[in-house]
Amino acid sequence: MKELTCIVCPRGCHLYIDDNLKVSGNFCKRGETYAIEELTHPSRILTTTMRIENRNSKLVCVKTNKKIPKEKMLDVMNEINNQTAKAPCKIGDTAIENILGLGVDIIFTSEVD
């Protein structure tokens, strides 16, 4: 039996997962999906900032458009830090395609004219 805190929503359910990956303690279906994923291949959305080309120190906010493996977070951070974005930036537009070959894009989450 394993125990987990669900991070899907602010409710933060306390989940119990038995050896057959049967989940209990979850308030909603998403908790079950999370628990199984967390035990088999934990992954997270990464949010950070990125410098903008030729804009001195100006930053734009970005995130991964899908969850990335938890253990890849610092590698992805490094890669984002190595690159610069081109203004103008629109929310949802792609900043970096298929980062580190993970099949995940980095997209803008704030607007810069």
Partner: protein, 481 residues
């Protein structure tokens, strides 16, 4: 070559510098900190005492009373906030009334106006005084002042009149070389005819460069609470407890910025110990609550400690070195040092300098500083006039205290330039409010970096080494370490 070098840019050093600046002299003031008035002169009760308390006949008594009378003019010339709100010393025990009466007698001997007031009279003046109050001594000439800008504006005026100021420079040795002193600092060395030692609690160290001294300076720490603005009528005067042998005791007062200050404690400490301690502050709380009701300590925005330079002689030490009349010690200036400072400067010049140096008044001496902008105090039309000329006055930098960018830039473009976030705070009140710079510090940091054309990594909070930023993000460690 300098005529006079002043060691120390606290209130004593800057007052002497300003008074000397009316004469045709080469004067240099050397200060080890990155701002004037950044040690004891910054962290005190900010009271202009009336002079009822010092023992008659002492320098403290004489100079306090003489100093007090000068503040209306000085604060007008230097554009510094000052209000004679009067002080009340309260007696909380029938058995102590004789002490209060003794103080009244001292006041008369010192020529200070003072009135013994009954409980009823006191409560009329201060409805929040404790129910235990039996009697009080009211001294109308006592007041409150903005000690930060007093030091800064005083030095600015001295500089405008020709005094040179070296900040970030520490005197490491002084020796006599024939007729002249050789003052060695961590950066340079200078020759001069006269040294004035106004080095605060380091005055013993500076004096010892010249001779073996027979006084000690004992650092004595005082811890305080500062409360936010909450109700301007909560308190109308400075309220003191009866003095003890350790000092004037705990007071509660309004400040010129309508905050409230409560303290100080009084404990012997190390020279650079500015730490606050819960037990000490709790005792301040208890003492203050005994004399004043309903003090809202939950409105505390800051606690701080200041260090007094207590002399072993129990009186100000204002005299030449025993072996050399050209080396003048102004040491042990504990309370009432702030109020005495203009009179101390007069005393030094009239009694100690004028007999040994020809003093000739300058023709073009100007005692006034260029007017400061207090944006909030202007009328609507004046505010709009100013904004029309300079848009920076329309940008509020600090929302708690409503400080404009224009005011920050004004203090940056003066003789005694603020180099740190703290120096901006002292001058303009940006960061002084209830958020304690949580919202505005990052913006003030950028203003300083832009003004001095340096990286934000260089900007200091206060003392050297108090940098705020370690690196830029996204640099992948380039600038880390």
């Amino acid at each position: 070559m300098q005529d006079i070098i002043i060691v120390g840019g606290g209130i004593i050093g800057v007052m002497i510098a300003r008074k000397l600046s009316q004469y045709d002299l080469n004067v240099l003031l050397i200060e080890k900190e990155n701002d004037v008035g950044n040690v004891t002169s910054m962290a005190n009760s900010a009271i202009i005492h009336s002079g009822y308390d010092p023992i008659p006949g002492t320098l403290k008594a004489k100079l306090n009373v003489l100093g007090n009378k000068q503040f209306d003019l000085i604060c007008k010339q230097l554009d510094v906030d000052f209000k004679r709100i009067g002080t009340i010393t309260v007696c909380l025990d029938e058995n102590d009334v004789f002490k209060l009466e003794a103080l009244k007698n001292r006041a008369s001997e010192n020529n200070v106006e003072a009135f013994l007031l009954s409980k009823e009279e006191l409560l009329k003046l201060e409805p929040n005084l404790s129910d235990n109050v039996v009697k009080g001594l009211f001294c109308p000439s006592g007041g409150i002042i903005d000690p930060f800008n007093l030091c800064v504006h005083c030095m600015e005026n001295a500089c405008e009149n020709g005094v040179k100021l070296h900040l970030n420079e520490e005197v490491i040795n002084i020796s006599k070389d024939g007729e002249l002193f050789s003052v060695v600092t961590n950066k340079d060395s200078y020759k001069c005819k006269i040294v004035i030692n106004a080095a605060g609690y380091n005055a013993d160290k500076i004096a010892s460069f010249i001779e073996k001294i027979d006084f000690d300076i004992i650092p004595r720490k005082g811890e305080y609470f500062v409360l936010d603005h909450f109700d301007d009528s909560f308190l109308n005067h400075v309220i003191f407890t009866l003095p003890t042998n350790k000092g004037k005791g705990v007071l509660i007062s309004k400040t010129t910025s309508n905050n409230y200050i409560i303290g100080p404690s009084s404990e012997i400490c190390l020279k650079d110990d500015y730490s606050c301690d819960k037990l000490t502050l709790d005792s301040v709380k208890i003492s203050a609550s005994k004399m004043f009701k309903n003090i809202p300590f939950n409105q505390t925005i800051r606690t701080f400690a200041g260090i007094r330079a207590t002399p072993s002689t129990h009186d100000f030490i204002i005299e030449p070195a025993k072996s050399d009349k050209y080396f003048i010690n102004v040491a042990g200036i504990e309370s009432p040092g702030l109020v005495s400072s203009p009179a101390i400067a007069d005393y030094v010049i009239d009694n100690l300098i004028s007999p040994i140096l020809v003093l000739k008044k300058k023709k073009n001496y100007n005692p006034n500083v260029r007017k400061y902008v207090h944006f909030l105090k202007l009328s609507l039309d004046e505010q709009n006039e100013l904004i029309k000329k300079d848009k920076d006055f329309s940008k509020i930098i600090c929302n708690c205290e409503k400080v404009t960018l224009g005011e920050v830039k004004d203090v940056l473009n003066r003789y005694v330039k603020p180099q740190t976030i703290k120096a901006i705070k002292k001058r303009t009140r940006a960061g002084f409010g209830k958020c304690q710079s949580g919202f505005c510090q990052a913006n003030v940091l950028d203003i300083l970096a832009n003004y001095y054309h340096v990286s934000p990594l260089e900007i200091l909070y206060d003392k050297n080494g108090s940098n705020i930023i370690y690196s830029l993000t996204k640099n992948n460690g380039d600038k880390n370490d």
